[in-house]
């Protein structure tokens, strides 16, 4: 197994899929000449040329729509959002078009496209550039939403997303691009809609993704010293959600804590807590605990920013609340 960065893993996935299928192309702001705002598309222009690595004007609604149209008639676009914050400009195309065309056409037209790029809390980028973006999408029937937390997941899930016949929202993370991890040498894919237990434990199930997942893994290590055994579950795909892996874990540990970096109100934490309550109520020894971001936009000031997103101390407090210790 090679150890590569999250960024390289995505780059490999794009390259492999573009080699495999000539219908796959990459389109977005600064993906070509500039090699990607976050260098995910490094050297792709060189290999595939401007026909398949397409630099666009700053027209998010426009080029997402271009992706949808191209997908409807047989291409397989990967649309890069420089960051997902700008996908809000294209929300109409995504929500009212990409997500619904299959349904509205009675199954005649598929929209096999991936919209990918970084999203989620970044570092001191303030309210418009630093926010949990998944919640804008996972509510919408017709979209799949992926949140890959490790290089291995990023590569395997992106390859599956590109091969999927539905519009897939694939949200990466600025703060994870430079992180490293093991990635299989041979070709592989990871199916959408399958969660992974990232760490086994027996006392409490913690569910989280992206930055929160990594924080949870650190916390799990810390709490081991206190004799608390934490199981950490990474949903990987937020929609469709792999509820059975989550429920299985909760049935084993009898306690659940859901982490969410974004604002907690009406967030995915609420949905997961409900799924657990509906599916494993009899197994629970205590109510499901949510540890979420504050219900406020992201502030610029460092100290406020630190307070906005759950830190290790708040995660530990949430776990101890669930365990009543």
């Amino acid at each position: 197994m090679a150890i590569i960065t999250y960024r390289e893993a995505l780059n490999q996935a794009l390259r492999e899929e573009m080699r495999r299928d000539p219908r796959v192309f990459l389109i977005g702001e600064e993906v070509g000449v500039y090699q990607g705002a976050y260098k995910v598309s490094q050297n792709l222009l060189e290999e595939f040329g401007p026909k398949r690595v397409v630099d666009t004007p700053i027209s998010e609604a426009g080029f997402v729509g271009v992706g949808i149209g191209a997908a409807m008639v047989g291409l397989r676009p990967v649309v890069e959002m420089m960051t997902f914050n700008f996908a809000i400009v294209a929300l109409d195309q995504i929500v009212n078009h990409a997500a619904k065309i299959l349904y509205m056409s009675g199954g005649q037209f598929r929209v096999p496209m991936v919209i990918r790029g970084p999203g989620g809390p970044a570092v001191q980028l303030a309210a418009q550039h630093s926010q949990g973006m998944e919640s804008y999408f996972y509510h919408v029937p017709g979209l799949k939403v992926v949140r890959p937390s490790t290089p291995r997941d990023a590569k395997g899930l992106l390859k599956s997303a590109i091969r999927d016949d539905n519009p897939v929202i694939f949200i990466e993370s600025e703060t994870l691009y430079g992180t490293k991890g093991e990635v299989p040498d041979d070709e592989y894919t990871i199916p959408l809609g399958v969660a992974e237990v990232k760490r086994e434990g027996t006392d409490v199930t913690v569910i989280g993704w992206m930055g929160m997942l990594h924080r949870a893994l650190e916390v799990a290590q810390d709490l081991e010293k206190e004799g608390i055994s934490v199981e950490v579950v990474d949903p990987r795909t937020l929609r469709p959600m792999d509820t059975s892996t989550i429920l299985e874990s909760v049935k084993k540990t009898h306690h659940a804590v859901v982490l969410e970096a974004g604002a907690g109100f009406a967030g995915l934490g609420a949905e997961i807590a409900t799924l657990i309550t509906e599916g494993a109520f009899d197994y629970l020894d205590s109510p499901v605990v949510r540890v979420t971001g504050a219900n406020a936009p992201m502030p610029y000031a460092k100290n406020l920013e630190r307070a906005k997103v759950p830190d290790k101390a708040r995660i530990i407090a949430g776990i101890k609340q669930a365990l009543a210790v």
Binding site: E29, E30, V33, Y34, Q35, A37, D55, T56, P57, I58, S59, E60, A61, G62, N85, F86, I88, V89, V123, Q124, L125, A126, A127, Q128, H129, A294, N295, A296, P297, P299, Y300, A301, K302, N303, L304, A307, K308
Partner: protein, 319 residues
């Protein structure tokens, strides 16, 4: 032209230049975080335009807006404190570099979303007419914004409803790493005005007097006749897109940058004034010294200002 006006234009441009340089220095020291987009080289555009306004007029801009806010009269100390993320900042440290707002000076931001300010500036024009006033709104944006739908939607509404808005496209020829010719089918931005039935004008954005003259005319038209105008100031940023693009080497040549630096707006005006005898060397040096002190004081002020108290996280979410 009135000597006092010329001296003021020079002062404003130099103030912005030194503010931006100080900000870069503070960023390098880790005192400022996040995205920091500087307007070094582009000072003539905002100074020439905003210097025309009355205090009750309005200004709105994007994320490269430090200069616009400062010419509007905002206190450099509060601006620096905002960059430091401190409580005495323009926005209590909650906005940062991309989100300067100053209500007292009718400065409406400060948006980080390319093109976001265009319909909002249009709405300000709508409100001016609604209240029966004769103010104007200056709406600044980069060449990149022209590719957004809202640019076209805004110009159409403004012309249709006769709104007193000046759309000022600060065309520095690049949107991040993308040259204008790679993103616009028609690269003379001012020509797009014609499609909406409003006057369009291109002006040398490195010449503060030329900008001032064009904007003066357009402001008069907007005040008296409610005619919006699209003005394209041709300008250039001497530095990278942001502090994270220091070299700016992937998309433009060093020769090109050096060529543009020859028309540095501050040097140009200063040359002209010293030739005319409007300002002596000694006076210029004195001015620069005074401005440097303003910046030192701004940094001292920002350092001394406290971090926002934690309650601030949840205030201003709702009124």
């Amino acid at each position: 032209m009135d000597k006092k006006v010329m001296v003021d234009l020079l002062y404003q441009m130099l103030l912005i230049r030194r503010f931006e340089e100080k900000a870069a220095e503070m960023y390098a020291q880790g005192k400022i975080g996040g995205f920091l987009h500087l307007g070094v080289g582009m000072e003539a555009s905002c100074v020439g335009a905003i210097s025309v306004l009355r205090p009750d007029d309005y200004v709105i801009a994007g994320y490269r807006e430090h200069g616009h806010c400062l010419v509007r009269g905002s206190d450099p100390r509060l601006a620096m404190a905002e960059l430091f993320g401190r409580m005495d900042g323009l926005s209590k440290g909650k906005g940062g570099s991309m989100h300067f707002f100053d209500k007292e000076r009718n400065f409406l931001g400060g948006t980080g979303i390319v093109g976001g300010q265009l319909p909002i500036g249009t709405g300000v024009g709508f409100a001016i007419n609604y209240r029966g006033g004769d103010q104007v709104c200056l709406c600044f944006f980069g060449d990149g914004s022209v590719a957004q739908g809202v640019f076209h939607e805004s110009l159409n509404m403004a012309a249709l409803w006769k709104l007193p808005v000046l759309y000022i496209c600060e065309n520095n020829l690049y949107a991040m790493g993308t040259a204008l010719s790679r993103t616009q089918s028609v690269t003379d931005i001012y020509k797009k005005a014609e499609a909406y039935g409003m006057p369009g004008e291109q002006v040398d954005g490195m010449d503060v007097l030329a900008v001032r003259e064009a904007v003066t005319r357009a402001v008069e038209r907007a005040r008296r006749e409610k005619i919006p105008t699209l003005i394209e100031t041709r300008t250039y940023r001497f530095r990278g897109h942001s502090m994270r693009d220091p070299a700016a080497a992937l998309y433009r040549t060093r020769e090109e940058v050096e060529e543009w630096k020859k028309s540095d707006p501050i040097v140009q005006l200063w040359d002209r004034m010293s030739r005319d005898g409007t300002v002596s060397d000694a006076e210029y040096k004195e001015m620069d010294k005074e401005i440097s002190q303003v910046m030192e004081e701004a940094v001292r002020f920002a350092e001394a200002s406290p971090e926002p108290p934690l309650e601030e996280l949840l205030t201003d979410v709702h009124v």
